[in-house]
């Protein structure tokens, strides 16, 4: 059996951005770019959940919950979405084949532990990776993994295994795609950008409690200063390494999502010619740079090159400073006078 859908692979910095952008482009939203998808989906976030452990380290996220970027972007652009989960592998596999038969490329949530084409070093039990299946050839499925330069393939067995990975955020065969071709106007994009920014302001500034948004960043900074005493040098080093790994999730390239948000605000300027937007974009570049410096500092500690209390203090101070920059940036976004 050989099926191929109309689909163009474009590499992205982040998997969900990439899947969102590429799927929406395939139904006619030609002007959508990765930064626009990220911004419209209000992707920038920060949260540190002290009681939750991931791989025996701290649970820290630099972006919004998996699945939300696609969901919000489609909703903002009035694109109807089909999303299905399965309890039964045969049904999941049949549904996929039917979609491909009908010429429909689909997004799949998968676990990376058994994702055979990933290098072993990256294969943890992380279940919120996203890829697109855009066709099949014999026993192979044609895969567009947006973080990769080129397309690849998975056998039926391999694809089924990652679609039914178990553990936290188990994908349960989840498939999603935009349900119909759409015609998205500039005006709709303009509105969606505004909504996306406002929602991101809310997420970063107004969530109650100390652990989320810009408050979460300063909270984490303060905690880090205590890690050496509380956890001992070895575990504290492991924690910092985990912080950097979360920040540098595959392909978010140094400073992670902050640069993508900076790029988004520049692109937003084309739709909303408001002088503040490119100015605020610079703040996100600055924040991204600070996150990078913080990562270098963290690396000094987990490599064992430095490790005194003063070094941990400096690490914590980086985060306090970042929190201030991002607070300033989001307050400036909140104060924007929108013309349309």
């Amino acid at each position: 059996m050989c099926m191929k859908t109309e689909f163009k692979h474009l590499q992205a910095a982040h998997c969900e951005n990439g899947v969102t952008t590429n799927l929406l482009r395939s139904v006619g939203v030609n002007k959508l770019t990765e930064p626009l998808a990220f911004g419209i989906g209000s992707g920038l976030f920060f949260i540190y959940i002290p009681l939750l452990k991931i791989n025996k380290g701290p649970a820290i996220a630099f972006r919004t919950m998996p699945g939300l970027i696609f969901k919000r972007t489609c909703k903002s652009l009035n694109v109807p979405v089909v999303r299905k989960k399965f309890s039964n592998k045969e049904a999941a596999s049949k549904f996929l084949d039917d979609c491909l038969q009908a010429g429909q490329p689909v997004g799949c949530q998968v676990g990376v532990y058994y994702l055979t084409y990933f290098p072993k070093e990256y294969r943890f039990h992380f279940n919120a990776h996203n890829l697109i299946v855009y066709g099949s050839q014999g026993d192979d499925y044609l895969i567009s993994d947006p973080v990769m330069e080129n397309v690849t393939t998975l056998t039926k067995y391999e694809l089924e295994r990652v679609r039914f990975a178990k553990g936290a955020l188990a994908p349960r065969g989840q498939i999603y795609y935009p349900a119909s071709h759409v015609n998205v106007t500039d005006d709709q994009l303009r509105k969606a950008i505004k909504t996306g920014i406002k929602r991101n302001v809310r997420d970063m500034i107004s969530i109650p409690g100390p652990i989320a948004g810009v408050k979460g960043i300063s909270y984490t900074g303060k905690k880090i200063k205590k890690w050496k005493d509380k956890l001992g040098s070895k575990t504290a080093g492991l924690y910092l390494a985990q912080l950097v790994r979360m920040q540098e999730e595959i392909g978010t390239g140094g400073g992670g999502f902050r640069y993508i948000y900076g790029a988004f605000l520049q692109e937003a300027y084309a739709y909303h010619p408001i002088d503040e937007l490119p100015e605020i974009s610079k703040l996100f570049t600055q924040s991204g740079d600070m996150w990078r410096s913080a990562a270098v500092q963290a690396a000094g500690i987990y490599k064992g090159r430095i490790g005194s209390q003063a070094d941990y203090d400096m690490m914590g101070d980086y985060l306090l400073e970042i929190a201030e920059i991002e607070r300033k940036a989001f307050l400036a976004l909140r104060n924007i006078k929108w013309n349309s």
Binding site: Q11, A12, A13, P35, N55, G57, Y113, Y117, F118, P119, K120, E121, Y122, F124, H125, V147, M148, E149, N150, K166, G167, A168, A170, G237, L238, A241, Q242, V244, R245, E248, I250, G251, G253, G254, G255, Y259, I260, G262, A263, Q266, E267, S281, K282, T285, G288, D289, R292, A295, V296, A298, A299, Y302, K303
Partner: protein, 135 residues
């Protein structure tokens, strides 16, 4: 980050692909560029894997000293925790904790052992002996 500052170090991912990175050009406009990796990031991964290697070795020692059943070894080897093992095998978490006891493990039926072996992607023989042959 300026475009010229994008790190081009060697990293594990580089075996598979270069990554897209966003950075600003000399006029301050955002653009994308491919990167081969960043040593700060690959070192963070190394640190995680060194720790895993040590946990696997500790678990192996415990099994050899008869303080734990081979299930502990395979939990570490497969980067799992009891919750993930429960999800793959269908056993309750407290059942798995019981099976971590070597004397309880020795009495497990072939059928139950097979469920663990499947979850860990090994044969029952390998499960019992911790002798795994893979690439």
């Amino acid at each position: 980050m300026k475009k010229e500052e994008i790190p081009q170090d060697d990293g594990a991912l580089n075996k598979l692909t270069k990554e897209v990175v966003y950075a600003v050009d000399k006029d301050g406009n955002y653009t994308t560029e491919l990167s081969t990796g960043w040593n700060v990031k690959s070192k963070a991964l190394d640190v995680a894997w060194d720790d895993i290697a040590q946990r696997i070795e500790n678990a192996r020692q415990k099994v050899i000293n008869n303080q734990a059943s081979p299930i502990l070894y395979f939990i570490e080897l497969r980067l799992m925790d009891i919750g993930i093992v429960a999800a793959y095998t269908g056993f309750w978490k407290w059942t798995i904790k019981r099976h971590l006891n070597p004397s309880v493990f020795k009495k497990l039926t072939e059928k139950k052992l097979q469920r663990y072996a499947d979850a860990f992607n090994v044969s029952v023989e390998e499960l019992k002996t911790m002798n795994v042959h893979e690439d």
